[in-house]
Symmetry: C2
DNA sequence: CGCTTGAATTTGGTATACCATATTGACAGC
DNA sequence: GCTGTCAATATGGTATACCAAATTCAAGCG
């Protein structure tokens, strides 16, 4: 699967998909130790997160199975997995579509993600090793470098890595897993938002405070910062013509 | 499916399963509007939550499919769903077992659940309607009645309903869903713990404070209370000979 | 010209068949 | 009596066949 071909035959070439990640989407191989269902779920997850399958797009089992070189059985299992993750919606007797959250949904997801990060940050203040904090500091300065270069993509990725590192330092596997899943659901949206965000300097200064808080192991402060930080990362959905409505620039 | 028969032919008749809920487990029917996979997932979830399928027990696809009157296809989809939920573990090429969390896992789950409830409580203070608070107060007094009667089962259920009502009042669907899922994973464990908990009066007095906090819409206080309340609900795993080790009283 | 209707087709849902591998159990050798 | 080995069996993983329902589309009617 060197190149993803969409249902309509056109390659997906709109603004963001090839940029979101450097790594190509994993190929499904027979000789992997993972079952095809799990591999398919991983590939499909990437395709949705990276907007190769845009929100709301119907997922035809036979078509997609053929594209992924698996049968419908493992693909359907993959779809059920992703449905629990919230990346696809299963419409009874009407198949699956890539999740298409409303702006209200996004608000709730951001509120939730902020809460998770706040909790994780609070725990991280107690449990993070000095080495973990050092690494977060390093990532922070790398992020400042990206900001200095006005490299929004590099900034975005480093930002993600910082938040991920903070959550990892919480030491709670459920917080980590929940964060990862919710982040996947929001990834595409936050990416788009990041690329047009006008509150960039604000976000940067907040990150300075975040770094200070974890360095000082100030749990209450860090919790509070992370709880409210996402607002600076995110330009309101209502200002973003795409979300919550049918996606116009995808021909499906 | 009037009576669940376990693999070994014995009916599951150990201490708790029939008491945990009054309602019998739903039957899988052809004429439901839900797909069999979804119905199977619901039934299986109940069977695991209610300890009809005890932790660590291998789940044989053909056997269970026959018992549920479905084919392996929808049952496997159900297993994948429950695996994401954390109720079953999928061992690659070796099938599924009912989740068997270690005491370390339980600690993390309780920490996580407490965090979720704290977040939800904080939001509930801002968003709960007066009617919702009235209902929580009513449940609280019902719970006190159960306590007066030393009716641990009724107490447990009302306790659950109170926490559920608090989370519902948060108005955040993700908090609600996450809470529900984590609660399902912990239900059996907390039930057993509840039945032998020696800190009952402590839990009651904490609930008094919880009620006051939501009545006063004191978000910070309620968050704090809920964060740390689970400790009073739970007798330590290490005192509970069952958890974290092979289940001795189940013959599998 | 638009609306209804019904056949053709597509699609999701389920059951079953098949395969490779893991497990079991008996037998042979020590 | 213990252990290693190999056949028999059971099990999970996958593909395919089949069915009912939904969708599509065109013919027919108003």
């Amino acid at each position: 699967m060197s190149n993803i071909i969409l249902d309509d035959g056109s390659e997906s070439d709109h603004d963001i998909n090839t940029q979101i990640t450097d790594a190509p989407i994993a190929t499904i191989s027979e000789d992997s130790d993972l079952p095809l269902a799990q591999q398919a779920a991983n590939v499909l997850r990437d395709m949705i997160v990276q907007d190769i399958i845009p929100p709301g797009k119907p997922i035809r089992e036979r078509t997609l199975a053929q594209q992924l070189n698996v049968s419908r059985t493992p693909l359907r299992e993959a779809l059920r997995i992703l449905a629990v993750d919230g990346l696809v919606e299963l419409l009874p007797s009407r198949g699956a579509i890539a999740a298409n959250p409303s702006s209200e949904d996004v608000k709730h997801m951001l509120e939730f993600l902020g809460g998770i990060e706040g909790l994780a940050g609070e725990l991280a203040c107690k449990r993070a090793t000095d080495e973990e904090i050092d690494e977060i500091r390093a990532l922070h300065y790398e992020m400042l470098a990206a900001f200095a270069r006005k490299d929004r993509l590099a900034y975005f990725k480093l930002n993600q890595r910082i938040h991920r590192a903070l959550v990892l330092a919480s030491g709670n596997p459920l917080l980590i897993e929940t964060h990862e899943r919710m982040n996947a659901r929001l990834y595409r949206i936050r990416y788009r938002s990041n690329m047009r965000n006008t509150k960039w300097p604000t976000a940067i200064s907040e990150h300075e405070e975040i770094l200070k808080a974890i360095e000082n192991r100030d749990a209450v402060k860090l919790n509070d910062l992370l709880r409210n930080h996402l607002g600076s990362t995110w330009t309101k959905v209502s200002e973003d013509g795409q979300l919550g409505t049918t996606d116009h620039h995808h021909n499906d």
